[in-house]
Symmetry: C2
Subunit: 187 residues, 2 copies
């Protein structure tokens, strides 16, 4: 038998594809193994267990979001940067609802680090808006909370009424931006 040539990263790739197509409930080691053309126990040569696979997926997702956020902040500053960051965040969740839903919030160090990288993008946006220190911490929390909450509710069908969610999100964005502390560079 030729080897399948797996690796931890390849296992995560397969798992993410499965996740995208069939949702979080379908994410089992058996299904991942099947899709990778391998017997289930073989996965343990690359990943400690299912819990670790979930952690690796979470890190992947957070890093993807960090990358998108970083891109979108290039060449933008002040309120514009924050608007763009919020829009990009929401868009990622709408495009990848299952990935986002699979994200885990836990005291795992690897996750904490990835989360810190993502939070740093928000911090950068705050800094370019003239917010530093305490103010930046509180402002970041508010922006994250708003966009996270909206994205979760929207992507999980929590907004039942027919009204356009675009408009709701625009309102939320402007609420947040106009409520930010003064700072230096309000544009």
């Amino acid at each position: 038998m030729p080897r399948a040539g797996l690796s931890a990263a390849a296992v995560v790739d397969v798992a993410m594809a499965l996740l995208d197509e069939e949702g979080p409930a379908a994410l089992t080691l058996a299904a991942v193994a099947g899709r990778a053309g391998v017997a289930t126990p073989s996965l343990y040569k690359h990943v400690r267990n299912l819990a670790e696979l979930r952690v690796l997926i979470s890190v992947r997702v957070m890093d993807e979001m960090t990358e998108r956020g970083t891109e979108v902040l290039l060449g933008r500053s002040g309120d514009d940067g924050i608007r763009a960051l919020m829009a990009a965040y929401r868009q990622y969740v709408l495009e990848n609802p299952h990935r986002y839903a699979a994200m885990i919030q836990q005291p795992e160090p690897a996750i904490a680090e990835a989360a810190a990288r993502l939070v740093n993008v928000f911090f950068a946006a705050m800094r370019s808006r003239g917010l530093e220190g305490e103010d930046a911490v509180h402002a970041t929390r508010c922006v994250r909370a708003a966009v996270h909450g909206f994205a979760v509710l929207e992507s999980s069908g929590g907004f039942g009424l027919p009204q356009k969610t675009e408009e709701s999100f625009a309102l939320l964005t402007e609420m947040i931006i106009s409520g930010l502390p003064a700072g230096q560079g309000a544009s």
Copy 2:
């Protein structure tokens, strides 16, 4: 053997106690049965399956929140009502993190109805603030998104930094309130 005298409601009671004490991962039919002093299959006489139990729990939680919200809105109106509602929501989640985390967002009719009841509380707060129709829909979404996002991040340890979350939440509340459309009864 004397009967245990279970019922669907009693099963949910036991499940919620288990959930509170040991978290969502420990919520298995086997564990619920053990705690109820009954063999696992006996639960199926009261609940169709684990999925239905989860739905029943979600409905319970939503109804608890609806009740708390309704209480807190009595005798309050305008911005004050919204502030109080947001505070009560956050408080519930902080007091019952596992219950809140166990809530499911799905096309189940029973859940949709409970969710609608909860959303109606937000609507009532908006109405007393002078918001109606479209405006009320968008405003409700924004308030729910903000408070849901904050509560989730806070209760799952998503705010790593040491700064007080009280202050962050106060900022978020004021951001939201001051950003609401004009309406009639802005207090």
